[in-house]
């Protein structure tokens, strides 16, 4: 089955990607000057992008195995290893994390004036945690990164957030923590059930009994569904997004909420396939509910950020819909849509951040007709809006289309309801754009609005490139992920077919 191919580069690439941001954070501890702190953080985040170049260039998309593998003993008594590697499912997230972190630092350049150094430390610490989550191939190691990330994110929202930040920060923390600790117990149960290993690749091949799978899947689901967030565990997201600073929102929407869906792909499906299949109808239903409900709620919002937050709930519904269709289109589409959503929603929050820094209001009603005043900004917002809707030629179209193909194969009715969500999505996004950009300037404060400056354009540009790049040539992305997703589907089907046998064998052993 899946193997860990040792890193061939001559230097520990993935470890560097984890520890370079950490080193940046430690260096920042000694820096007093805000200006220097910004530059140091930016340099370290760009170095991280630099590291992701050899990663993507040397990644072999034709095989499903874990690449750039590193494995060191860590806590021998518990059979815990520092074991990392990437495959087609995780490699793009590593690159996206590096990119979005840099963009976050750039958009915070002038927006963050208070405690700049601490802010940058939190962002870099968070980046290390996010990379770690995507590359960890030991459940214990994964859990360490998964929880450690909560600390900087909590601080980002709580210290640099909006007026209601305290409530939002604690809500975010507690929701995620409750889900995570249930997963922790399941991780321990998995560990003992599999004879004492946290090795993800070994656990993928371990035949767990069906009843065990059902419980363990539910516990992992608690952690991942909160993170995604799936309806009805989504209520922390609008609060967190609204109150978070722009950088926090970009990272939250771009990376953090993808981790839930990533967790399904990396752990839940391969470990507990027969439970996944049993749970599928419920999860598919929750997904379409999220799609429609999120879109419906987005219509009602008067707050720019809250609208995008609810649209995220809707879009992540597509992702889980695709993943749990459990066929290659669905999973590939879901995976691609995660990247797409990271790009488009990251870009949308960037757009909100840019305008908020000038006007200090997030109310949609406070805008109107600003296209005439800030043409570059309006054009940027338009492209991102269209990408978010899923206009052909942009990235959003490819992802959603593939997901619908997958969902249709599973059951046509889900695809039909979900496509309703696409129409609704077009509705609220275009309506939003119309209210913000078109017409005459309704708010006198906006008469002298400044257009995007060079720094902001530079931050936005890579996202635009990705919008069209993936939209016009999606194969580049599919090629990277194809072998891994195919393998995942095959693995799930083969192992699910085995599960009843394993359960019978276990029962026979227990003398029942």
């Amino acid at each position: 089955m899946l193997e860990l191919i040792p890193n061939q580069l001559g230097f520990p690439l993935l470890s560097l990607m984890i520890f370079v941001p950490l080193a940046g954070a430690v260096i920042l501890l000694a820096v007093r000057d805000a200006r220097a702190a910004r530059w140091i953080a930016l340099l370290f985040s760009i170095a991280e992008i630099g590291l992701s170049v050899p990663l993507l260039a040397n990644f072999d998309g034709s095989i499903a195995h874990m690449q750039f593998g590193e494995s060191l003993p860590w806590i021998k008594d518990w059979h815990i290893n520092y074991r990392i590697g990437v495959d087609g499912i995780s490699v793009l997230f590593v690159g996206l994390t590096a990119l979005l972190t840099t963009i976050s630092i750039m958009v915070s350049w002038t927006a963050i004036q208070d405690r700049v150094r601490e802010f940058m430390i939190a962002v870099l610490f968070l980046e290390a945690g996010m990379i770690g989550v995507f590359v960890a191939l030991d459940l214990f190691l994964f859990y360490i990164f998964w929880e450690a990330m909560l600390i900087p994110m909590y601080l980002l929202i709580g210290v640099w957030g909006g007026p209601n930040r305290l409530y939002a920060a604690i809500k975010f923390f507690l929701y995620t923590l409750v889900g995570s600790v249930l997963m922790l117990v399941a991780i321990l149960a998995v560990y003992f059930s599999a004879g004492g290993t946290f090795d993800v690749l070994a656990l993928m091949n371990h035949p767990f009994g069906h009843t065990f799978q059902m419980w363990a899947f539910a516990a992992f689901f608690a952690a991942f569904a909160v993170k995604v967030p799936m309806f009805p565990f989504h209520t922390w997201l609008p609060d967190a997004h609204v109150e978070a600073p722009t950088a926090g929102s970009i990272i939250l929407a771009g990376i953090l909420i993808k981790m839930g869906a990533y967790g399904f792909l990396r752990f839940s499906l391969p470990f507990f396939p027969s439970a996944a299949i049993s749970w599928t109808p419920a999860i598919m239903t929750l997904s379409v509910v999220a799609i429609i409900y999120g879109a419906y709620m987005a219509f009602a919002q008067t707050d720019f950020k809250k609208l995008i937050a609810y649209s995220s709930v809707s879009h992540m519904g597509f992702v889980t819909l695709g993943i749990f269709a459990l066929n290659s289109q669905g999973v590939e589409g879901g995976l691609l849509q995660m990247i797409n959503h990271g790009v488009s929603t990251g870009a949308l929050f960037l757009a909100v951040g840019v305008i908020y820094e000038r006007t200090h209001t997030r109310m949609i009603a406070d805008y109107g007709g600003i296209a005439a005043k800030v043409p570059v900004y309006a054009a940027y917002l338009l492209i991102i809006t269209l990408s978010s809707i899923g206009l052909p030629g942009t990235n959003g179209f490819v992802g959603e289309f593939t997901i619908l193909l997958g969902a249709f194969q599973y059951k046509a009715v889900y695809a039909v309801i979900a496509s309703l969500g696409i129409i609704l999505g077009a509705g609220y996004m275009l309506w939003l754009y119309q209210r913000v950009a078109f017409g005459t300037v309704t708010n006198p404060h906006n008469e002298h609005l400044q257009d995007m400056n060079l720094r902001e354009i530079a931050a936005a540009l890579p996202l635009l490139v990705l919008v069209f790049g993936v939209g016009l040539y999606p194969n580049a992305a599919f090629q990277v992920m194809h072998a891994s997703t195919e393998n995942l589907i095959k693995h799930v089907q083969a192992k699910a077919a085995l599960a009843p046998v394993a359960a019978q064998a276990a029962n026979a052993l227990l003398g029942q």
Binding site: D77, Y154, V159, L166, A169, I170, L174, V181
Partner: protein
């Protein structure tokens, strides 16, 4: 004559560390009389030297194992592990006390002497091979702590704390002695191994046996502050001088767990099924009451008091799980708990200065702006207490719940992690105040080299154990081997 003295000295080797501490304590008392209240902080450093000497002796004696003095004192890796935790707790306790005692104007030599006596008592508890030795050690510890709790003679809260602790402590000692006498009546011996040998062949259904076990559980539960025997904790913790509270929350509690482990997982092992059931009930209650009551506290010492109750609950989960792994997880947990809790109290103590009590949680408002280092340290200690990686607190809890799952008590682990998630709320509230509110007024913090040293030791331990727990974990696992 000379040879017989040498002979005696030779026989006393196993309790040299205890002797050293008691000798230092007595000399502190004598020297303090002549110093007349001057240079008392030198006595603090002097006591620390005593601790270092005793600690080195314990390490050197690590190779010596066995039962001494007719089996009343045991030297084994288990007792050695706990003794090192006590040295750490006592050392940190002295370091954070020095400046604080000046501010409270209670800087007298007896303080250090009592700390050393208490530590010697705790060591005796960990080494006890006999019910009588347990009682001796426990009383030596408890009597010293009663006095320490009431050390602020002119403060009514401190007096109340001392008296309350004394009365309830005496009551719990009475229950313990009753339980011990019943056990002696059944087994005909007070020797722990002897009792174990008796139980292996005895009728385990005997209600008197059960009663004596419950009585021991009540009195040990009192020492570790398990619910429902925790009533004294909030008032005593709040009223006692903060440095004593810090020490109490680490030292005596850990000593209580040493005895708990020795008696319940070793001596009374044949009763494991009953014990495990009762202890898991206690653990659930303790976690529930500790965490829920901590939510509504406004005084930081009371909050940490309830938090220390909750942490006793987590450790009880490990005792309930039992076996090698359960015991080892408790040992690792109490070690980690001791350093992180002492660290948190170290920061709390910095807020106490003339004219300001610094005990309200709201006093922490804006600390992230006025004193970045102190706030950052507190942040690390609080996240560690919550059990968030990469802090040591996570490793401790992980091991506890791991041993619970291994023992087949998944339900107990689930209850534990959920209460642990609840605890995030009150720990984070302090972080929120420090970083997300503006300071009420400009204030400087009390700083001293001793305090800085204590904080440096605790924060290093919290992070190093959190990131690379292997050495301490191996140490704990190796130390438990002799117990079972």
């Amino acid at each position: 004559m000379l040879t017989s003295v040498q002979e005696i000295l030779k026989q006393l080797v196993p309790i040299y560390p205890e002797f050293v501490l008691i000798a230092f304590a007595l000399s502190v008392l004598v020297v303090d009389m002549f110093l007349n209240g001057r240079y008392t902080h030198l006595l603090g450093w002097y006591s620390l030297i005593g601790i270092v000497i005793a600690a080195s002796m314990t390490i050197i004696l690590g190779g010596v194992q066995g039962a001494f003095f007719s089996g009343t004192v045991l030297l084994d890796p288990f007792s050695q592990f706990f003794k090192l935790v006590f040295y750490l707790a006592c050392g940190l306790g002295i370091l954070i006390a020095m400046k604080y005692l000046d501010i409270e104007d209670i800087h007298r030599g007896e303080y250090y002497a009592l700390m050393l006596f208490a530590t010697a008592g705790m060591m005796l508890m960990a080494s006890a091979g006999d019910l009588i030795t347990i009682y001796l050690g426990l009383e030596l510890m408890a009597l010293s702590i009663y006095v320490l709790a009431g050390f602020m003679r002119k403060d009514s809260r401190s007096n109340e704390a001392g008296i309350k602790y004394l009365l309830l402590g005496a009551f719990s000692s009475g229950i313990m002695l009753y339980g011990m006498s019943l056990l002696y009546g059944l087994a005909g011996t007070t020797n722990l191994d002897g009792i174990l040998a008796f139980l292996r062949t005895a009728d385990l259904k005997n209600p008197v046996l059960f009663l004596s076990m419950v009585m021991l559980m009540v009195s040990f539960g009192f020492k570790v502050a398990a619910v429902p025997f925790h009533m004294w904790v909030p008032d005593v913790y709040e009223g006692a001088p903060t440095s004593v509270t810090a020490f109490m929350s680490a030292g005596p509690k850990v000593a209580g767990f040493a005895v708990l482990l020795r008696v319940f997982t070793h001596t009374l092992d044949p009763l494991h099924a009953d014990i495990s059931l009762l202890l898991s009930g206690l653990a659930v209650l303790t976690m529930a009451v500790g965490n829920v009551m901590a939510l509504s506290q406004t005084n930081i010492k009371r909050m940490l008091a309830y938090s220390s109750i909750a942490h006793a609950g987590y450790a009880l989960v490990g005792v309930a799980a039992g076996g090698q792994e359960g015991a080892a997880s408790v040992m690792l947990y109490v070690l980690i708990y001791a350093v992180m809790n002492m660290g948190a109290f170290g920061v709390v103590i910095m807020l106490r200065k003339a004219g300001m009590r610094g005990e309200e949680i709201s006093d922490f408002a804006g600390l992230g702006k006025t004193n970045k280092t102190a706030a950052f340290l507190m942040l690390i200690f609080l996240f560690s207490l919550t059990g968030i990686p990469p802090m040591a607190g996570f490793v401790g809890k992980f091991y506890i719940f791991k041993s619970a799952v291994q023992a087949g008590m998944i339900w107990l682990a689930i209850v534990g992690v959920l209460f642990s998630a609840i605890s995030a709320y009150f720990y984070l509230r302090v972080i929120m105040l420090m970083y997300m509110y503006d300071p009420k007024e400009e204030f400087g913090l009390v700083q001293s080299p001793a305090l800085a040293l204590a904080l440096a030791i605790s924060v290093t331990a919290v992070i190093v154990i959190g990131v690379y727990p292997t050495p301490v974990l191996e140490f704990a696992r190796a130390s438990v081997a002799g117990l079972l």
